[in-house]
Symmetry: C2
Subunit: 266 residues, 2 copies
């Protein structure tokens, strides 16, 4: 999906909600466990119930990988089931030397057909660039993440700027706002206005709203740009809103609350 | 595998060679393509031909992931086929917020049974610690990598030290030399003596010998400690030493050259 299509989708739906399919076999409603693929059964119900309210689904690959080959089957079924007009994110945090990163890019863009993949920047330019050579595909580079550990390295000073600022400025020059986004945690709202000044045009993928405690209002006020420029992700707060036979309806209601709040800001 | 067993294996075999199974369906000998699982057939032949010369096998997961579910099947068959007395490394470069890193740790330590996994440090403490809570399992944290992109962030100054030095010192305090190693590229030999002073006891996983041009002699002189403390990886230089029906014998000869040079240093 290209940027124009994504922006159009956001305007049309009055939503910049991304729903994170962090689907954990131990947390889904018990009645699904008799299904031959319980994780896909859960995801299918969540997608059916929310697909008109969000503009993106984010699949956190770790939750699937830990199930072994069966998990990858669930992942593949899920990404194939997501309607083609919705943006898909492989939240895989990959990154390696150039020839290896090329294989990761092929994995998520070609083998599974995702629109985007999250990328860890520590190994530098040749680890990121292979993700930028695919038409209408996106690298979503870790900038300032939502977790406590962001303090350990990202918020250390390199010269007169924070490491994450150096990462944003440096990596932004390797791609364009048409093929690169940044992960900016909602729990870092105080920094978002400054980050938006550094990279005015790029989309931000914003995790940390909901279970991690970030504020949708704060991140919107500080992070929105003329093309909206935000994909705000909620995972647990939506998909585990309920835990019984009505879980999909509960998820829809949780997603609807986010969407309505977003419509108010648009 | 615990540290004592690893050191014993190195002394017994007079080898600290790790062979990287970066197995690419497009590079293996053509006669294997009729096998139902050509990647496993190639790996099996390489393992059979080299298992008395090395102490570790490193599986670069990207090469398997890009083949989709079939690739994970090849990976699983391969790790199960590696003799249990040889150290196994999932070169997967994972790292995410705490609860997600826990799933990655389970993936590689429990689902597939690897001894170790490579970990990207950018997201900080809670992204690394989940890999440290498994008995006789190891996190191998990226320190100073072998690629050109190491210059972009790892070799930037944070205060009066390089970022990679801060990463080494900070992450070393989260674990012990019994459950943590560091990736230190062989192409960075000039820095290895200083790195060894920073973390005197830890093992280093050293990629970059062979196709990437690093020197085994230089890395050994500067990096070895009283327990050897090195796993030097060669991938392409061993596994693609030949490309016809004799490829396994060619790989053995390439591995033997490394092992004999190592025996001379031990």
């Amino acid at each position: 999906m290209n940027r124009q299509e994504l922006v159009h989708l956001i305007r049309e739906r009055k939503s910049y909600l991304c729903i994170g399919l962090d689907t954990d076999i131990h947390k889904i409603p018990k009645h699904l466990l008799s299904h031959p693929d319980p994780i896909f059964a859960f995801n299918k119900a969540i997608i059916d119930a929310t697909k008109d309210l969000c503009v993106a689904y984010k699949i956190n690959t770790a939750f699937y990988e830990c199930q072994g080959i069966r998990g990858w089957e669930s992942l593949q079924r899920t990404v194939e089931y997501i309607p083609k007009d919705i943006f898909t994110i492989a939240d895989a945090k990959r990154g390696d030397i150039g020839n290896t990163s090329t294989y990761y890019a092929k994995t998520f863009f070609e083998t599974y057909g995702f629109d985007s993949v999250t990328v860890a920047p520590y190994m530098g330019r040749d680890s990121v660039e292979p993700f930028l050579g695919f038409s209408e595909k996106w690298a979503i580079v870790l900038g300032l993440t939502s977790n406590a550990g962001a303090q350990d390295f990202q918020l250390q000073k390199t010269g007169d700027e924070y490491l994450y600022e150096k990462v944003l400025k440096t990596t932004a020059a390797w791609g364009t706002p048409e093929n690169m986004m940044f992960v900016v945690g909602a729990t870092q709202a105080d920094s978002v206005a400054a980050i938006r000044q550094l990279v005015p045009d790029h989309f931000f993928l914003v995790p940390g709203v909901g279970a991690q405690g970030g504020s949708l209002q704060a991140i919107t006020e500080k992070g929105m740009n003329k093309d909206v420029g935000l994909l705000v992700n909620a995972s647990r707060a939506v998909i585990y809103a309920g835990n019984d036979e009505n879980f999909a309806e509960d998820a829809r209601n949780a997603a609807l609350q986010y969407q309505q709040e977003m419509a108010g800001y648009l």
